[in-house]
Amino acid sequence: MSKFKKKKGGEIPAVNTASLPDIVFMLLFFFMVVTVLRDTDLLVKNELPKADQVEKLKKDRAVFIYAGKPSSRYQDKFGTEGRVQIGDKYTDISNIGLALEEARRKLRPELQDKVYVALKVDGETNTGLVSDIKQVLRERNLLKIMYITTPGNELVSN
């Protein structure tokens, strides 16, 4: 009678998967933390133009304006003319100021004076619409703007 049993046969032991949940949980927490659920539904087509000489937008002090053609499912109702979207709904040029003011009040108080207006405008839009928006921004004294773009270069792709 030996104290140490001999191993039964030469089988390969199964891989221990006890730590698998831990690994998966770690990944899970990572993605939970970095996830930003989209809070605005896009009502307009939004293919941003390309640029490479860009700076980063500081998100905590930005209000967004979307502009472009209405998305295909809204085109029956709103036509194909370029439109402006702030928050969740279409906005008239004349109402941009008020809508922006509302969006700005949701920011942290100490950042409200440093607000950046981020323009997410579809590449196919006419510049006239953008000029109208800029004119309203000037009247509202919201002078810091940023044209949001996607990485790339118009020259290389053409």
Partner: protein, 207 residues
């Protein structure tokens, strides 16, 4: 001694549950990093004030028409040539040596018919209301590229690093070393080549 040991909770399905959640978050995640071209709009001036006079030779007019064609200083131009043309204009340094406006660091042609110095030089982008936004951004991008090229050149000459690299590192918080000193140096470079891009309001048909 009739105590039964509490049975262990089976944790075998924990991994499955976690996987399910993981996949959900993987799918919904959009790691968005918005980047773009920042601009400062001019404040609205009181109508009584006369706009400052800019000499014709210090003005570089880029005109984009409704068919997205470029007219630069009254000449038709392709987008790919715009950066070089803008660099030549900004870097010209046409003011004669000895005058207070003389540009000592310019390496351009010093043609008297082009800009006096980078501080005086103004690039004016005029666009039609029907210009596509894509083209508008492409033009802005090329002009910013021209400025960045010149700023990189000067910062390499003075400090041995690239303006764009350092300003990006500072923005992203990855800059190693004395950030305050670097910021001051960035400002010096910015003063050498100040970004002077005028965006005229598109001309209305009535004018």
């Amino acid at each position: 001694m009739g105590r039964r040991a509490t049975p262990e909770v089976n944790a075998g399905s924990m991994a499955d549950i976690a996987f399910l959640l993981l996949i959900f978050f993987l799918v919904t995640t959009t790691i968005e990093k918005d980047k773009g071209i920042a601009r400062q709009l001019p404040p609205i001036e009181p109508p009584t004030e006369e706009p400052p006079l800019i000499k014709q030779k210090n003005l570089f007019i880029v005109n984009v028409n409704k068919d997205d064609q470029l007219l630069v200083e009254d000449e038709l131009m392709q987008l790919k040539d715009l950066k070089q043309a803008a660099i030549e204009f900004l870097d010209n340094g046409g003011a004669p040596a000895g005058s207070p406006e003389y540009c000592s660091y310019c390496k351009g042609k010093r043609s008297p018919s082009s800009s006096d110095n980078p501080d005086k030089a103004v690039i004016s982008v005029q666009n039609d209301r029907l210009t596509s936004y894509k083209m508008y951004i492409a033009v802005q991008n090329e002009l910013v590229a021209a400025y960045n090229h010149l700023r990189d050149r000067e910062s390499e000459r003075l400090y041995g690093w690239k303006f764009t690299d350092v300003s990006r590192a500072i923005n992203e918080g990855t800059f190693q070393g004395n950030e305050e000193a670097a910021k001051e140096k960035l400002e010096v470079i910015q003063k050498l080549f100040p970004l002077k891009l005028s965006e005229a309001e598109p001309k209305t048909k009535a004018q």
